[in-house]
Amino acid sequence: MLGLLETGSGFWSAIIWIVLVLVIGSIVIYIRNKGEDSYKKNTEQDKPFISGNPEESKESSHLSANHIYWGFTEALKGYYNPLVKMHTGNINDYSSWIIMLTVIILIVIGVSG
Protein backbone atom coordinates (compact mmCIF):
# COMPACT_ATOMS: atom_id res chain seq x y z
CA MET A 1 0.00 0.00 0.00
CA LEU A 2 1.28 3.45 -0.93
CA GLY A 3 2.38 5.48 2.11
CA LEU A 4 2.94 2.44 4.34
CA LEU A 5 6.30 2.67 6.09
CA GLU A 6 7.64 -0.54 7.66
CA THR A 7 9.55 0.26 10.86
CA GLY A 8 10.78 -3.22 11.75
CA SER A 9 8.45 -3.35 14.75
CA GLY A 10 5.27 -2.25 13.00
CA PHE A 11 4.18 0.22 10.35
CA TRP A 12 3.21 3.85 9.89
CA SER A 13 0.77 5.29 7.40
CA ALA A 14 0.10 9.02 7.34
CA ILE A 15 -2.92 8.43 5.11
CA ILE A 16 -4.59 6.13 7.67
CA TRP A 17 -3.67 8.60 10.41
CA ILE A 18 -5.31 11.50 8.53
CA VAL A 19 -8.47 9.45 7.93
CA LEU A 20 -8.61 8.60 11.64
CA VAL A 21 -8.08 12.25 12.63
CA LEU A 22 -10.90 13.29 10.29
CA VAL A 23 -13.28 10.67 11.71
CA ILE A 24 -12.45 11.46 15.37
CA GLY A 25 -12.48 15.21 14.61
CA SER A 26 -15.95 14.93 13.06
CA ILE A 27 -17.24 13.16 16.16
CA VAL A 28 -15.72 15.85 18.41
CA ILE A 29 -17.22 18.66 16.30
CA TYR A 30 -20.60 16.91 16.33
CA ILE A 31 -20.55 16.66 20.14
CA ARG A 32 -19.39 20.28 20.47
CA ASN A 33 -22.13 21.53 18.16
CA LYS A 34 -24.77 19.85 20.30
CA GLY A 35 -23.88 22.57 22.83
CA GLU A 36 -24.01 22.90 26.64
CA ASP A 37 -27.45 23.49 28.12
CA SER A 38 -26.26 25.65 31.04
CA TYR A 39 -24.35 28.11 28.78
CA LYS A 40 -25.79 31.63 28.52
CA LYS A 41 -24.48 34.06 25.95
CA ASN A 42 -23.35 37.64 26.89
CA THR A 43 -23.03 36.84 30.59
CA GLU A 44 -20.07 36.42 32.97
CA GLN A 45 -19.54 33.00 31.35
CA ASP A 46 -18.08 34.71 28.26
CA LYS A 47 -15.21 36.37 30.20
CA PRO A 48 -11.83 34.66 30.68
CA PHE A 49 -11.13 33.42 34.22
CA ILE A 50 -7.93 34.99 35.51
CA SER A 51 -8.22 34.36 39.23
CA GLY A 52 -10.37 37.42 39.82
CA ASN A 53 -7.75 39.85 38.46
CA PRO A 54 -8.94 42.62 36.14
CA GLU A 55 -8.53 41.86 32.43
CA GLU A 56 -5.64 43.77 30.83
CA SER A 57 -5.84 45.52 27.48
CA LYS A 58 -5.05 43.28 24.52
CA GLU A 59 -1.90 45.23 23.59
CA SER A 60 -0.31 44.78 27.03
CA SER A 61 -1.31 41.15 27.50
CA HIS A 62 1.26 39.59 25.12
CA LEU A 63 3.69 37.37 26.97
CA SER A 64 7.24 37.92 25.70
CA ALA A 65 9.78 35.12 25.07
CA ASN A 66 11.72 35.94 28.26
CA HIS A 67 8.81 34.87 30.44
CA ILE A 68 7.94 31.64 28.66
CA TYR A 69 9.26 28.54 30.49
CA TRP A 70 10.66 30.73 33.26
CA GLY A 71 9.60 28.08 35.80
CA PHE A 72 11.27 25.32 33.79
CA THR A 73 14.65 27.05 33.61
CA GLU A 74 14.39 28.26 37.22
CA ALA A 75 13.74 24.72 38.44
CA LEU A 76 16.70 23.43 36.41
CA LYS A 77 19.11 26.18 37.51
CA GLY A 78 21.66 23.62 38.64
CA TYR A 79 21.78 22.22 35.10
CA TYR A 80 21.52 25.50 33.22
CA ASN A 81 24.03 27.64 35.12
CA PRO A 82 27.13 25.59 34.23
CA LEU A 83 25.79 24.80 30.76
CA VAL A 84 25.24 28.44 29.82
CA LYS A 85 28.60 29.36 31.38
CA MET A 86 30.27 26.75 29.18
CA HIS A 87 29.13 28.69 26.10
CA THR A 88 31.62 31.51 26.53
CA GLY A 89 31.70 32.73 22.95
CA ASN A 90 35.48 32.70 23.19
CA ILE A 91 37.27 31.14 20.23
CA ASN A 92 40.06 29.85 22.49
CA ASP A 93 37.49 27.73 24.30
CA TYR A 94 36.03 26.48 21.00
CA SER A 95 39.50 25.34 19.93
CA SER A 96 40.20 23.77 23.33
CA TRP A 97 37.07 21.62 23.11
CA ILE A 98 38.16 20.30 19.71
CA ILE A 99 41.67 19.48 20.94
CA MET A 100 40.34 17.91 24.14
CA LEU A 101 37.85 15.72 22.29
CA THR A 102 40.48 14.69 19.75
CA VAL A 103 42.78 13.56 22.56
CA ILE A 104 39.96 11.62 24.27
CA ILE A 105 38.94 9.89 21.04
CA LEU A 106 42.54 9.05 20.16
CA ILE A 107 42.99 7.46 23.59
CA VAL A 108 39.67 5.52 23.39
CA ILE A 109 40.39 4.23 19.88
CA GLY A 110 44.00 3.44 20.79
CA VAL A 111 43.09 1.58 23.98
CA SER A 112 40.05 -0.29 22.64
CA GLY A 113 42.09 -2.05 19.95
Binding site: G8, W12, W17, I68, V84, Y94, L106, G110, G113
Partner: protein
Amino acid sequence: MNLSNHIPILIIAIPLLAAFLVPLIGRINKKATGILTTLALSVSLIFTIALAVKILTVGPQVYVFGATSPSLTLPSGLKFPIRIMLQIDAMSIFMGLITAVISFFGAIYSLSFIKKYDGVDKYYSLLLLLTVGMFGMEFTGDIFNFFVFLEIASIASVALISFRGVDYGEPAEAGFKYMMVSSISALMVLFAVGIFYGQYDLLNFAAIASMIKYSQLDKIALGLLIPVLAMKAGAVPMHMWTPDAYSEAPAPITMILVAASQASLYALFRIVFSLYNISLNALTVGWIIIIFGLLSMFIGVTMAIVQKDIKRLMAYHAVSQTGYMLLGVGVGLAVLANPVALQKYGITAMEGGIFHIMNHAMYKGLLFLTAGALFFRTGTRDLNKMGGLAHYMKYTTIFFIIGAAAIAGLPPFNGFASKLLIYESVYRFNPLLSIIAMVVSILTLASFVKVFHSAFLGPKLPQFKEVKEVPRSMVFAMAVLSCIIIFFGLFPDLIVKNLVHPAVMSLIEQLQYTGTVLGGM
Protein backbone atom coordinates in the same frame (compact mmCIF):
# COMPACT_ATOMS: atom_id res chain seq x y z
CA MET B 1 30.53 12.85 -27.26
CA ASN B 2 27.89 11.33 -25.00
CA LEU B 3 26.79 14.11 -22.64
CA SER B 4 25.29 11.70 -20.12
CA ASN B 5 28.78 10.32 -19.37
CA HIS B 6 29.91 13.79 -18.29
CA ILE B 7 26.96 14.63 -16.02
CA PRO B 8 28.94 14.05 -12.76
CA ILE B 9 31.51 16.71 -13.61
CA LEU B 10 28.95 19.06 -15.15
CA ILE B 11 27.06 19.18 -11.84
CA ILE B 12 30.19 20.69 -10.28
CA ALA B 13 31.59 22.55 -13.28
CA ILE B 14 28.47 24.57 -14.11
CA PRO B 15 28.19 26.36 -10.74
CA LEU B 16 32.00 26.72 -10.68
CA LEU B 17 32.01 28.44 -14.06
CA ALA B 18 29.03 30.56 -13.03
CA ALA B 19 30.86 31.57 -9.83
CA PHE B 20 33.57 33.22 -11.94
CA LEU B 21 31.12 34.65 -14.48
CA VAL B 22 28.87 36.29 -11.87
CA PRO B 23 31.31 39.10 -10.87
CA LEU B 24 31.92 39.86 -14.57
CA ILE B 25 28.18 39.99 -15.32
CA GLY B 26 27.76 42.10 -12.18
CA ARG B 27 29.87 44.83 -13.82
CA ILE B 28 27.20 45.18 -16.50
CA ASN B 29 24.00 44.40 -14.65
CA LYS B 30 23.67 43.68 -10.90
CA LYS B 31 20.21 42.15 -11.26
CA ALA B 32 21.47 39.57 -13.74
CA THR B 33 23.82 38.04 -11.14
CA GLY B 34 20.95 36.50 -9.19
CA ILE B 35 19.28 35.22 -12.34
CA LEU B 36 22.53 33.67 -13.62
CA THR B 37 23.10 31.98 -10.24
CA THR B 38 19.57 30.59 -10.15
CA LEU B 39 19.92 29.40 -13.75
CA ALA B 40 23.24 27.65 -13.07
CA LEU B 41 21.88 25.97 -9.95
CA SER B 42 18.71 24.91 -11.76
CA VAL B 43 20.84 23.16 -14.41
CA SER B 44 22.86 21.50 -11.64
CA LEU B 45 19.61 20.39 -9.99
CA ILE B 46 18.30 18.86 -13.22
CA PHE B 47 21.61 17.06 -13.83
CA THR B 48 21.66 15.80 -10.23
CA ILE B 49 18.16 14.36 -10.61
CA ALA B 50 19.18 12.74 -13.92
CA LEU B 51 22.30 11.26 -12.30
CA ALA B 52 20.23 10.01 -9.35
CA VAL B 53 17.89 8.17 -11.71
CA LYS B 54 20.89 6.62 -13.50
CA ILE B 55 22.61 5.54 -10.27
CA LEU B 56 19.45 4.08 -8.75
CA THR B 57 18.67 2.11 -11.92
CA VAL B 58 22.12 1.22 -13.32
CA GLY B 59 24.41 1.41 -10.25
CA PRO B 60 27.28 3.57 -8.94
CA GLN B 61 29.04 5.87 -11.40
CA VAL B 62 32.66 6.97 -11.65
CA TYR B 63 34.14 9.89 -13.51
CA VAL B 64 37.89 9.74 -14.07
CA PHE B 65 39.64 13.02 -14.90
CA GLY B 66 41.98 12.96 -17.87
CA ALA B 67 41.27 9.34 -18.85
CA THR B 68 40.45 8.35 -22.43
CA SER B 69 37.08 7.25 -21.11
CA PRO B 70 35.46 8.78 -17.96
CA SER B 71 34.82 5.28 -16.61
CA LEU B 72 38.39 3.99 -17.05
CA THR B 73 39.43 3.69 -13.40
CA LEU B 74 42.47 1.44 -13.94
CA PRO B 75 44.72 2.23 -16.91
CA SER B 76 46.06 -0.97 -18.52
CA GLY B 77 48.86 -2.58 -16.54
CA LEU B 78 47.99 -0.81 -13.29
CA LYS B 79 46.37 -2.42 -10.26
CA PHE B 80 45.56 0.82 -8.48
CA PRO B 81 43.97 4.10 -9.64
CA ILE B 82 46.35 7.00 -10.28
CA ARG B 83 43.92 9.63 -11.55
CA ILE B 84 41.59 11.88 -9.61
CA MET B 85 38.04 10.64 -9.84
CA LEU B 86 34.51 11.25 -8.74
CA GLN B 87 32.83 8.19 -7.33
CA ILE B 88 29.10 8.55 -6.89
CA ASP B 89 26.97 5.86 -5.34
CA ALA B 90 23.47 5.94 -3.81
CA MET B 91 24.72 7.66 -0.63
CA SER B 92 26.66 10.35 -2.52
CA ILE B 93 23.76 11.14 -4.81
CA PHE B 94 21.38 11.20 -1.83
CA MET B 95 23.53 13.97 -0.39
CA GLY B 96 23.93 15.56 -3.83
CA LEU B 97 20.16 15.86 -4.16
CA ILE B 98 19.96 17.67 -0.82
CA THR B 99 22.72 20.07 -1.87
CA ALA B 100 21.12 20.72 -5.27
CA VAL B 101 17.64 21.39 -3.87
CA ILE B 102 18.77 23.53 -0.94
CA SER B 103 21.22 25.63 -2.99
CA PHE B 104 18.64 26.22 -5.72
CA PHE B 105 15.93 27.39 -3.33
CA GLY B 106 18.51 29.37 -1.36
CA ALA B 107 19.33 31.27 -4.55
CA ILE B 108 15.66 31.88 -5.36
CA TYR B 109 15.00 33.18 -1.85
CA SER B 110 18.08 35.40 -2.12
CA LEU B 111 16.71 37.18 -5.21
CA SER B 112 14.58 39.44 -2.97
CA PHE B 113 16.26 38.91 0.39
CA ILE B 114 19.72 40.14 -0.55
CA LYS B 115 18.67 42.94 -2.91
CA LYS B 116 19.16 45.75 -0.38
CA TYR B 117 22.80 44.83 0.40
CA ASP B 118 25.98 45.94 -1.36
CA GLY B 119 28.24 43.37 -3.01
CA VAL B 120 25.45 41.19 -4.35
CA ASP B 121 27.70 39.85 -7.13
CA LYS B 122 30.23 38.65 -4.53
CA TYR B 123 27.42 37.09 -2.52
CA TYR B 124 26.20 35.01 -5.46
CA SER B 125 29.72 34.09 -6.49
CA LEU B 126 30.42 32.78 -2.98
CA LEU B 127 27.07 30.99 -2.82
CA LEU B 128 28.01 29.14 -6.01
CA LEU B 129 31.47 28.29 -4.66
CA LEU B 130 29.93 26.96 -1.45
CA THR B 131 27.67 24.74 -3.56
CA VAL B 132 30.68 23.54 -5.58
CA GLY B 133 32.51 22.67 -2.36
CA MET B 134 29.55 20.70 -1.05
CA PHE B 135 29.02 18.78 -4.29
CA GLY B 136 32.74 18.04 -4.39
CA MET B 137 32.83 16.72 -0.82
CA GLU B 138 29.94 14.42 -1.62
CA PHE B 139 31.05 13.19 -5.03
CA THR B 140 34.81 12.86 -4.76
CA GLY B 141 36.47 9.47 -4.62
CA ASP B 142 39.80 10.94 -3.60
CA ILE B 143 40.64 11.86 -0.04
CA PHE B 144 42.98 14.73 -0.93
CA ASN B 145 40.32 16.18 -3.19
CA PHE B 146 37.91 15.87 -0.31
CA PHE B 147 40.25 18.14 1.65
CA VAL B 148 40.35 20.63 -1.26
CA PHE B 149 36.55 20.75 -1.57
CA LEU B 150 36.21 21.02 2.22
CA GLU B 151 38.45 24.08 2.06
CA ILE B 152 36.49 25.61 -0.83
CA ALA B 153 33.25 25.17 1.13
CA SER B 154 34.81 26.51 4.34
CA ILE B 155 36.36 29.61 2.78
CA ALA B 156 33.14 30.46 0.92
CA SER B 157 31.19 29.89 4.15
CA VAL B 158 33.44 32.22 6.16
CA ALA B 159 32.96 35.02 3.65
CA LEU B 160 29.20 34.46 3.48
CA ILE B 161 28.79 34.36 7.26
CA SER B 162 30.61 37.71 7.42
CA PHE B 163 28.64 39.12 4.49
CA ARG B 164 26.83 41.70 6.63
CA GLY B 165 30.06 42.40 8.50
CA VAL B 166 30.69 45.74 6.78
CA ASP B 167 27.85 47.31 8.78
CA TYR B 168 27.87 45.22 11.96
CA GLY B 169 30.53 43.64 14.16
CA GLU B 170 28.84 40.35 14.99
CA PRO B 171 28.85 38.80 11.49
CA ALA B 172 32.59 39.49 11.15
CA GLU B 173 33.20 37.91 14.56
CA ALA B 174 31.09 34.86 13.66
CA GLY B 175 32.99 34.52 10.37
CA PHE B 176 36.31 34.75 12.19
CA LYS B 177 35.28 32.05 14.66
CA TYR B 178 34.16 29.78 11.86
CA MET B 179 37.44 30.43 10.04
CA MET B 180 39.40 29.38 13.12
CA VAL B 181 37.54 26.13 13.74
CA SER B 182 37.57 25.34 10.01
CA SER B 183 41.34 25.85 9.92
CA ILE B 184 41.82 23.41 12.79
CA SER B 185 39.60 20.85 11.09
CA ALA B 186 41.33 21.32 7.73
CA LEU B 187 44.72 20.86 9.38
CA MET B 188 43.66 17.61 11.02
CA VAL B 189 42.05 16.29 7.83
CA LEU B 190 45.26 17.10 5.93
CA PHE B 191 47.30 15.32 8.58
CA ALA B 192 45.07 12.24 8.25
CA VAL B 193 45.45 12.37 4.45
CA GLY B 194 49.22 12.47 4.96
CA ILE B 195 49.02 9.39 7.18
CA PHE B 196 47.13 7.43 4.51
CA TYR B 197 49.43 8.58 1.73
CA GLY B 198 52.55 7.83 3.77
CA GLN B 199 51.35 4.31 4.53
CA TYR B 200 49.69 3.20 1.32
CA ASP B 201 50.96 5.62 -1.37
CA LEU B 202 47.31 6.07 -2.27
CA LEU B 203 44.75 8.83 -2.09
CA ASN B 204 41.78 7.06 -3.65
CA PHE B 205 39.12 6.14 -1.07
CA ALA B 206 38.33 2.75 -2.61
CA ALA B 207 41.99 1.83 -3.07
CA ILE B 208 42.85 2.77 0.53
CA ALA B 209 39.77 0.88 1.76
CA SER B 210 40.93 -2.27 -0.03
CA MET B 211 44.32 -2.11 1.74
CA ILE B 212 43.51 -0.67 5.12
CA LYS B 213 44.90 -2.70 8.03
CA TYR B 214 43.69 -0.66 11.02
CA SER B 215 47.26 -0.16 12.11
CA GLN B 216 48.23 2.31 14.85
CA LEU B 217 48.61 4.98 12.15
CA ASP B 218 45.16 4.19 10.76
CA LYS B 219 43.78 4.56 14.26
CA ILE B 220 45.45 7.95 14.62
CA ALA B 221 43.98 9.04 11.28
CA LEU B 222 40.53 7.90 12.41
CA GLY B 223 40.99 9.63 15.77
CA LEU B 224 41.73 12.87 13.93
CA LEU B 225 38.94 12.58 11.38
CA ILE B 226 36.05 11.69 13.71
CA PRO B 227 36.18 14.76 16.01
CA VAL B 228 36.83 17.32 13.29
CA LEU B 229 34.09 16.04 10.98
CA ALA B 230 31.72 15.78 13.95
CA MET B 231 32.69 19.35 14.82
CA LYS B 232 31.96 20.54 11.27
CA ALA B 233 28.61 18.77 11.54
CA GLY B 234 27.89 20.71 14.75
CA ALA B 235 28.12 17.88 17.29
CA VAL B 236 28.28 18.73 21.02
CA PRO B 237 30.60 19.74 22.70
CA MET B 238 32.24 21.20 19.57
CA HIS B 239 29.04 22.86 18.39
CA MET B 240 29.68 26.34 19.73
CA TRP B 241 30.45 27.87 16.35
CA THR B 242 26.97 26.95 15.04
CA PRO B 243 24.83 29.48 16.94
CA ASP B 244 27.34 32.22 16.05
CA ALA B 245 27.58 31.32 12.37
CA TYR B 246 23.98 30.28 11.72
CA SER B 247 22.53 33.35 13.40
CA GLU B 248 24.77 35.93 11.71
CA ALA B 249 24.73 34.55 8.16
CA PRO B 250 21.95 35.77 5.85
CA ALA B 251 18.96 33.39 6.15
CA PRO B 252 19.35 31.60 2.77
CA ILE B 253 23.03 31.06 3.55
CA THR B 254 22.15 29.63 6.96
CA MET B 255 19.93 27.14 5.16
CA ILE B 256 22.80 26.16 2.84
CA LEU B 257 25.22 26.02 5.81
CA VAL B 258 22.98 23.38 7.39
CA ALA B 259 23.37 21.31 4.22
CA ALA B 260 27.15 21.99 4.28
CA SER B 261 27.31 20.67 7.85
CA GLN B 262 25.53 17.58 6.65
CA ALA B 263 28.15 17.16 3.93
CA SER B 264 30.70 16.84 6.76
CA LEU B 265 28.43 14.35 8.48
CA TYR B 266 28.31 12.41 5.21
CA ALA B 267 32.13 12.43 5.13
CA LEU B 268 32.22 11.05 8.66
CA PHE B 269 29.88 8.21 7.68
CA ARG B 270 31.75 7.59 4.43
CA ILE B 271 35.04 7.29 6.30
CA VAL B 272 33.88 4.94 9.05
CA PHE B 273 31.79 2.76 6.75
CA SER B 274 33.42 2.82 3.29
CA LEU B 275 37.04 3.40 4.31
CA TYR B 276 37.37 1.40 7.54
CA ASN B 277 34.16 -0.69 7.74
CA ILE B 278 34.57 -3.85 9.85
CA SER B 279 38.36 -3.44 10.02
CA LEU B 280 37.73 -0.95 12.86
CA ASN B 281 36.35 -1.71 16.29
CA ALA B 282 32.77 -1.02 15.23
CA LEU B 283 31.28 -1.22 18.72
CA THR B 284 33.70 1.36 20.18
CA VAL B 285 33.49 3.78 17.27
CA GLY B 286 29.72 3.22 17.09
CA TRP B 287 29.38 4.19 20.74
CA ILE B 288 31.59 7.26 20.23
CA ILE B 289 29.16 8.40 17.53
CA ILE B 290 26.13 7.49 19.69
CA ILE B 291 27.50 9.55 22.61
CA PHE B 292 28.07 12.50 20.26
CA GLY B 293 24.46 12.03 19.16
CA LEU B 294 23.05 11.91 22.69
CA LEU B 295 24.98 14.98 23.84
CA SER B 296 23.99 16.88 20.71
CA MET B 297 20.31 15.98 21.02
CA PHE B 298 19.96 16.85 24.67
CA ILE B 299 22.30 19.82 25.13
CA GLY B 300 21.18 21.27 21.77
CA VAL B 301 17.50 21.29 22.67
CA THR B 302 17.92 22.45 26.27
CA MET B 303 20.12 25.34 25.13
CA ALA B 304 17.53 26.22 22.47
CA ILE B 305 14.79 26.64 25.06
CA VAL B 306 16.58 29.53 26.80
CA GLN B 307 17.41 31.50 23.63
CA LYS B 308 15.79 34.82 22.80
CA ASP B 309 17.30 35.28 19.34
CA ILE B 310 15.14 33.31 16.90
CA LYS B 311 18.08 32.24 14.70
CA ARG B 312 20.27 31.24 17.64
CA LEU B 313 17.37 29.20 18.95
CA MET B 314 17.01 27.47 15.59
CA ALA B 315 20.79 26.96 15.40
CA TYR B 316 20.72 25.04 18.68
CA HIS B 317 17.89 22.96 17.26
CA ALA B 318 20.07 22.19 14.24
CA VAL B 319 22.66 20.83 16.70
CA SER B 320 19.95 18.80 18.42
CA GLN B 321 18.63 17.32 15.18
CA THR B 322 22.16 16.35 14.10
CA GLY B 323 22.11 14.23 17.25
CA TYR B 324 19.30 12.09 15.83
CA MET B 325 21.33 11.39 12.68
CA LEU B 326 24.40 10.48 14.73
CA LEU B 327 22.30 8.26 17.00
CA GLY B 328 20.65 6.33 14.16
CA VAL B 329 23.81 5.78 12.14
CA GLY B 330 25.88 5.22 15.29
CA VAL B 331 23.63 2.31 16.28
CA GLY B 332 24.01 0.86 12.77
CA LEU B 333 27.79 1.12 13.10
CA ALA B 334 27.82 -0.39 16.60
CA VAL B 335 26.14 -3.56 15.28
CA LEU B 336 27.97 -3.61 11.94
CA ALA B 337 29.98 -6.69 12.91
CA ASN B 338 26.86 -8.47 14.14
CA PRO B 339 24.88 -9.56 11.04
CA VAL B 340 21.80 -10.66 13.01
CA ALA B 341 21.43 -7.37 14.91
CA LEU B 342 22.27 -5.43 11.75
CA GLN B 343 19.41 -7.11 9.88
CA LYS B 344 17.01 -6.93 12.82
CA TYR B 345 17.33 -3.23 13.63
CA GLY B 346 20.74 -1.86 12.56
CA ILE B 347 19.71 -1.15 8.97
CA THR B 348 16.42 0.44 10.09
CA ALA B 349 18.30 2.65 12.57
CA MET B 350 20.60 3.78 9.78
CA GLU B 351 17.64 4.36 7.47
CA GLY B 352 16.10 6.57 10.17
CA GLY B 353 19.36 8.50 10.62
CA ILE B 354 19.98 8.95 6.89
CA PHE B 355 16.33 9.83 6.14
CA HIS B 356 16.56 12.40 8.93
CA ILE B 357 19.44 14.11 7.10
CA MET B 358 17.17 14.87 4.15
CA ASN B 359 14.16 15.75 6.31
CA HIS B 360 16.24 18.02 8.48
CA ALA B 361 17.69 19.85 5.48
CA MET B 362 14.14 20.57 4.27
CA TYR B 363 12.40 21.59 7.51
CA LYS B 364 15.35 23.34 9.11
CA GLY B 365 15.95 25.13 5.81
CA LEU B 366 12.31 26.20 5.82
CA LEU B 367 12.47 27.34 9.45
CA PHE B 368 15.58 29.44 8.80
CA LEU B 369 13.83 30.98 5.80
CA THR B 370 10.82 31.88 7.96
CA ALA B 371 13.20 33.44 10.50
CA GLY B 372 14.78 35.34 7.59
CA ALA B 373 11.33 36.50 6.49
CA LEU B 374 10.62 37.86 9.99
CA PHE B 375 13.99 39.64 10.05
CA PHE B 376 13.40 40.97 6.52
CA ARG B 377 10.17 42.67 7.60
CA THR B 378 10.75 43.55 11.27
CA GLY B 379 14.53 44.15 11.27
CA THR B 380 14.96 42.16 14.49
CA ARG B 381 15.74 38.58 15.52
CA ASP B 382 14.85 39.24 19.15
CA LEU B 383 11.79 37.21 20.12
CA ASN B 384 11.10 39.61 23.02
CA LYS B 385 10.50 42.41 20.53
CA MET B 386 8.20 40.40 18.27
CA GLY B 387 4.52 39.58 18.54
CA GLY B 388 1.30 39.40 16.56
CA LEU B 389 3.07 38.88 13.25
CA ALA B 390 0.57 36.26 12.11
CA HIS B 391 -1.83 39.16 11.47
CA TYR B 392 0.50 40.56 8.81
CA MET B 393 2.45 37.57 7.47
CA LYS B 394 -0.09 34.82 6.91
CA TYR B 395 1.92 32.69 4.47
CA THR B 396 5.06 32.89 6.62
CA THR B 397 2.98 31.81 9.63
CA ILE B 398 1.66 28.75 7.80
CA PHE B 399 5.16 27.81 6.60
CA PHE B 400 6.50 28.22 10.14
CA ILE B 401 3.78 25.93 11.53
CA ILE B 402 4.65 23.26 8.94
CA GLY B 403 8.39 23.52 9.69
CA ALA B 404 7.87 23.55 13.46
CA ALA B 405 5.53 20.56 13.38
CA ALA B 406 8.01 18.67 11.20
CA ILE B 407 11.02 19.35 13.44
CA ALA B 408 9.02 18.43 16.55
CA GLY B 409 8.20 15.09 14.93
CA LEU B 410 4.45 15.62 14.72
CA PRO B 411 2.56 13.40 12.30
CA PRO B 412 1.91 13.52 9.40
CA PHE B 413 5.05 15.54 8.60
CA ASN B 414 8.39 14.13 7.44
CA GLY B 415 10.22 14.54 10.77
CA PHE B 416 7.83 12.07 12.35
CA ALA B 417 8.58 9.34 9.80
CA SER B 418 12.37 9.44 10.25
CA LYS B 419 12.15 9.82 14.03
CA LEU B 420 9.78 6.85 14.24
CA LEU B 421 12.31 4.70 12.39
CA ILE B 422 14.98 5.82 14.85
CA TYR B 423 12.85 5.32 17.98
CA GLU B 424 11.66 1.84 17.11
CA SER B 425 15.02 0.48 15.95
CA VAL B 426 17.22 2.18 18.57
CA TYR B 427 14.86 0.89 21.28
CA ARG B 428 15.89 -2.65 20.38
CA PHE B 429 19.55 -1.70 20.77
CA ASN B 430 19.14 0.21 24.04
CA PRO B 431 15.72 1.42 25.26
CA LEU B 432 17.19 4.34 27.22
CA LEU B 433 18.60 5.93 24.06
CA SER B 434 15.21 5.80 22.43
CA ILE B 435 13.49 7.33 25.46
CA ILE B 436 15.98 10.21 25.52
CA ALA B 437 15.32 10.79 21.82
CA MET B 438 11.57 11.01 22.51
CA VAL B 439 12.06 13.41 25.44
CA VAL B 440 14.17 15.61 23.15
CA SER B 441 11.32 15.66 20.63
CA ILE B 442 8.90 16.86 23.31
CA LEU B 443 11.33 19.62 24.34
CA THR B 444 11.69 20.57 20.66
CA LEU B 445 7.94 21.00 20.41
CA ALA B 446 7.95 23.08 23.61
CA SER B 447 10.67 25.31 22.22
CA PHE B 448 8.85 25.95 18.95
CA VAL B 449 5.60 26.64 20.81
CA LYS B 450 7.58 29.42 22.53
CA VAL B 451 8.72 30.84 19.17
CA PHE B 452 5.23 30.58 17.70
CA HIS B 453 3.67 32.33 20.66
CA SER B 454 6.32 35.05 20.93
CA ALA B 455 6.59 35.93 17.26
CA PHE B 456 3.29 35.14 15.65
CA LEU B 457 0.55 35.14 18.28
CA GLY B 458 -0.79 37.98 20.37
CA PRO B 459 -2.43 41.28 19.46
CA LYS B 460 -1.23 43.55 16.65
CA LEU B 461 1.70 45.61 17.93
CA PRO B 462 1.86 49.26 16.86
CA GLN B 463 5.53 49.10 15.80
CA PHE B 464 4.68 46.44 13.19
CA LYS B 465 1.66 48.13 11.62
CA GLU B 466 3.62 48.66 8.37
CA VAL B 467 4.71 45.01 8.19
CA LYS B 468 3.43 42.97 5.24
CA GLU B 469 4.10 39.57 3.67
CA VAL B 470 7.56 39.01 2.12
CA PRO B 471 8.11 39.23 -1.68
CA ARG B 472 6.98 36.45 -3.97
CA SER B 473 10.37 34.80 -4.59
CA MET B 474 10.79 34.30 -0.84
CA VAL B 475 7.26 32.94 -0.48
CA PHE B 476 7.85 30.61 -3.44
CA ALA B 477 11.02 29.09 -1.93
CA MET B 478 9.27 28.53 1.41
CA ALA B 479 6.15 27.12 -0.29
CA VAL B 480 8.08 24.53 -2.29
CA LEU B 481 10.03 23.38 0.78
CA SER B 482 6.72 23.09 2.66
CA CYS B 483 5.29 20.95 -0.15
CA ILE B 484 8.37 18.68 -0.04
CA ILE B 485 7.96 18.30 3.74
CA ILE B 486 4.29 17.35 3.37
CA PHE B 487 4.98 14.97 0.49
CA PHE B 488 7.80 13.21 2.39
CA GLY B 489 5.51 12.99 5.39
CA LEU B 490 2.60 11.48 3.46
CA PHE B 491 4.67 9.03 1.42
CA PRO B 492 7.81 8.28 3.46
CA ASP B 493 7.90 4.73 2.10
CA LEU B 494 8.63 6.06 -1.41
CA ILE B 495 11.66 7.98 -0.19
CA VAL B 496 12.93 5.25 2.13
CA LYS B 497 12.57 2.51 -0.49
CA ASN B 498 13.98 4.42 -3.46
CA LEU B 499 16.56 6.75 -1.93
CA VAL B 500 17.32 5.97 1.70
CA HIS B 501 17.62 2.19 1.66
CA PRO B 502 20.03 2.14 -1.34
CA ALA B 503 22.06 4.89 0.40
CA VAL B 504 22.31 2.84 3.60
CA MET B 505 23.27 -0.31 1.72
CA SER B 506 25.96 1.55 -0.21
CA LEU B 507 27.49 2.53 3.13
CA ILE B 508 27.30 -0.95 4.61
CA GLU B 509 28.56 -2.87 1.57
CA GLN B 510 32.21 -1.86 1.42
CA LEU B 511 33.06 -4.43 -1.25
CA GLN B 512 30.64 -2.84 -3.68
CA TYR B 513 32.25 0.56 -3.03
CA THR B 514 35.79 -0.68 -3.64
CA GLY B 515 34.67 -2.92 -6.51
CA THR B 516 33.30 0.06 -8.46
CA VAL B 517 36.84 1.41 -8.80
CA LEU B 518 39.02 -1.69 -8.55
CA GLY B 519 36.79 -4.13 -10.39
CA GLY B 520 37.13 -7.70 -9.18
CA MET B 521 40.31 -7.10 -7.18
